[in-house]
């Protein structure tokens, strides 16, 4: 369960990015977050990732209240999240396999377990045949699938994707979205920030619209709305 209670966020330069957001996302939901550029979508994601602290209000994720979680607990909190970024953020000097294995090693997974699990995850994102390729040898869509595999590596309960299809071709985008839906069907909560109207319409999932730092719409069933 993810809950935002009257969350406000101002940046040190004075920009007020969120002006009192209230949200409730249940375990296992699939949610699109949409809105204009500068609406505060990425800020919302950064708060969820504890990359930024809320100025006021409460954010509750599972048993963690992010406003009171001490810094040293944050790494443990982050292990239940899997993150995907628009720019992939793969390590260029590691192969596909190593990029995924790296995520597991970082949290202290035994090598035996890594060897067993990585191929299975690469299979989930349909990349088994590319395991020894380097990121620069892959298409944007493939790179994003590696990023998705890495996000899944530590079996998180929530997947957060901030414009995962922003840098890739439309067909590839569809494949990434399909994978995210598939992952959602496996029982994980999936939150996707996107600008792609057609995809949002197509999937007919819950849509949360943010504008000027506030939730202005929250409904199920696509129809992106003409304002975007």
């Amino acid at each position: 369960m993810i809950e935002f209670r009257n969350v406000k966020k101002s940046y040190p330069n004075g920009t007020v990015a969120l002006k009192g957001v209230n949200l409730h996302i249940d375990d296992g939901e699939f949610v699109f977050i949409v809105g204009h550029s500068g609406a505060g979508k990425s800020t919302l994601m950064k708060l969820l990732l504890c990359e930024e602290k809320a100025t006021s209000g409460n954010i509750i994720v599972g048993q963690y209240n992010l406003t009171t979680t001490p810094n040293r607990r944050i790494p443990h909190y982050r292990r239940q999240l899997g993150v995907v970024f628009q720019d992939f953020r793969l390590l260029p000097n590691m192969t596909v396999y190593e990029n995924v294995a790296f995520a597991m090693r970082v949290v202290g997974t035994p090598s035996k377990m890594i060897k067993r699990r990585v191929p299975a995850i690469l299979n989930t994102v349909n990349l088994s045949d590319k395991h020894s390729a380097f990121p620069h040898e892959l298409s944007g869509g493939e790179q994003q699938r590696v990023a998705l595999a890495r996000a899944l590596a530590n079996n998180p309960s929530v997947i957060i994707a901030d414009e995962p299809t922003g840098n890739i071709d439309p067909q590839m985008s569809l494949e990434i979205m399909n994978l995210l839906v598939k992952i959602n069907k496996l029982g994980k909560t999936v939150i996707v920030v996107t600008h792609e109207q057609s995809l949002v319409d197509y999937y007919k999932q819950r849509v949360i619209r943010i504008q000027d730092g506030l939730v202005i719409d929250d409904y199920v069933g696509g129809m992106f709305n003409e304002t975007v």
């Binding site: 040293r72 790494p75 443990h76 953020r89 390590l91 035994p110 590596a153």
Partner: protein, 293 residues
């Protein structure tokens, strides 16, 4: 920390050290010179001390009686000496013994002198307990009746002590500067290493790596640099010292040198400890930002 992580940390540290080859080399070189200066000076001071102790006369006062003193008079002087506070041991050397020794050393020069002609005096070599009260003792000895002369080596021993202190001061400042330079260079090496891995670090944070997990490879970099510098300086000192002792042994036969095997363990532990400590301090300083959360 789990065992397989240790290999990971060391592996990451080695990779990063290799990637920053030039900086790594510079750090190790500066740290190495620092350790060489420490070991060199320590060995120098140690050898000075050993040789001073061997000379022995430096903490000794010698009292001479009148050349024509009778046995009773000499005994009285000895008794008076024993009564003084600061006196530890007293060694009596008769003028007959002294003459005998001289005759053995140089029969040509002293061979003809008969016991009646003996111009020498009975003497007492005194070891004292408290260095600080030597001048008092010196004065008291001069007051004893039948004492012709009191010879002490206070001036010399003060001079040597002074030289030793100046060496120590120069040594200290030289060392302090080298240390600051070493730490500064290590800080920069680690900072560059962190910059090189910025992307990796940001990904590690998102994935949920703990601060320690992120930091330890860099600390290990410091430890490895310290260890390499420590071991290198140990071997340089080992061979350099033997070479100097062998070379000087002929010219300065009257000096005795501490054998390297007697102190090698201390040298090794010393340079390793200082090297590793410097490495850890340097890397910790450049990582303090990450250690906070």
């Amino acid at each position: 920390m789990r065992r397989y992580n240790l290999f990971y940390f060391i592996g990451e540290a080695l990779k990063s050290l290799k990637r920053n080859g030039v900086m790594t080399f510079a750090s190790i070189a500066v740290l190495l010179s620092c350790l060489l200066v420490i070991s060199g000076f320590s060995l120098l001071v140690l050898n000075i001390d050993v040789n001073l102790e061997k000379l022995g006369t430096l903490n000794e006062i010698v009292v001479f009686c009148q050349p024509d003193a009778t046995e009773e008079e000499i005994d009285a002087v000895e008794a008076a000496i024993h009564k003084l506070d600061n006196v530890d041991t007293v060694t009596h050397s008769t003028k007959a013994e002294q003459l005998k020794q001289l005759k053995e050393e140089d029969p040509d020069l002293y061979g003809d002198i008969t016991a009646e002609e003996n111009p020498l005096s009975d003497s007492f070599a005194i070891k004292y307990k408290d260095n600080d009260k030597v001048s008092t003792l010196d004065y008291e000895l001069k007051q004893i009746e039948g004492v012709r002369k009191v010879r002490n080596s206070l001036d010399l021993s003060n001079k040597i002590e002074g030289i030793k202190q100046s060496i120590m001061i120069v040594f200290f400042w030289f060392l302090a500067i080298l240390f600051v330079v070493s730490i500064f260079i290590i800080i920069n090496t680690i900072k560059i290493a962190v910059l090189n891995r910025k992307k990796e670090i940001s990904i590690m944070r998102y994935i949920g790596a703990t601060a320690w997990f992120i930091i330890l490879p860099f600390i290990f970099e410091g430890i490895i640099m310290g260890t390499v510098a420590g071991l290198a300086s140990f071997f340089i000192v080992k061979f350099g010292y033997s070479a100097i002792v062998n070379g000087a042994g002929e010219d300065l036969a009257m000096l005795s040198f501490v054998g390297f095997s007697d102190i090698s363990t201390y040298v090794l532990l010393g340079v390793l400890a200082i090297g590793i400590l410097t490495g850890v301090i340097g890397s910790s300083i450049s990582l303090s930002k990450y250690l906070k959360d």
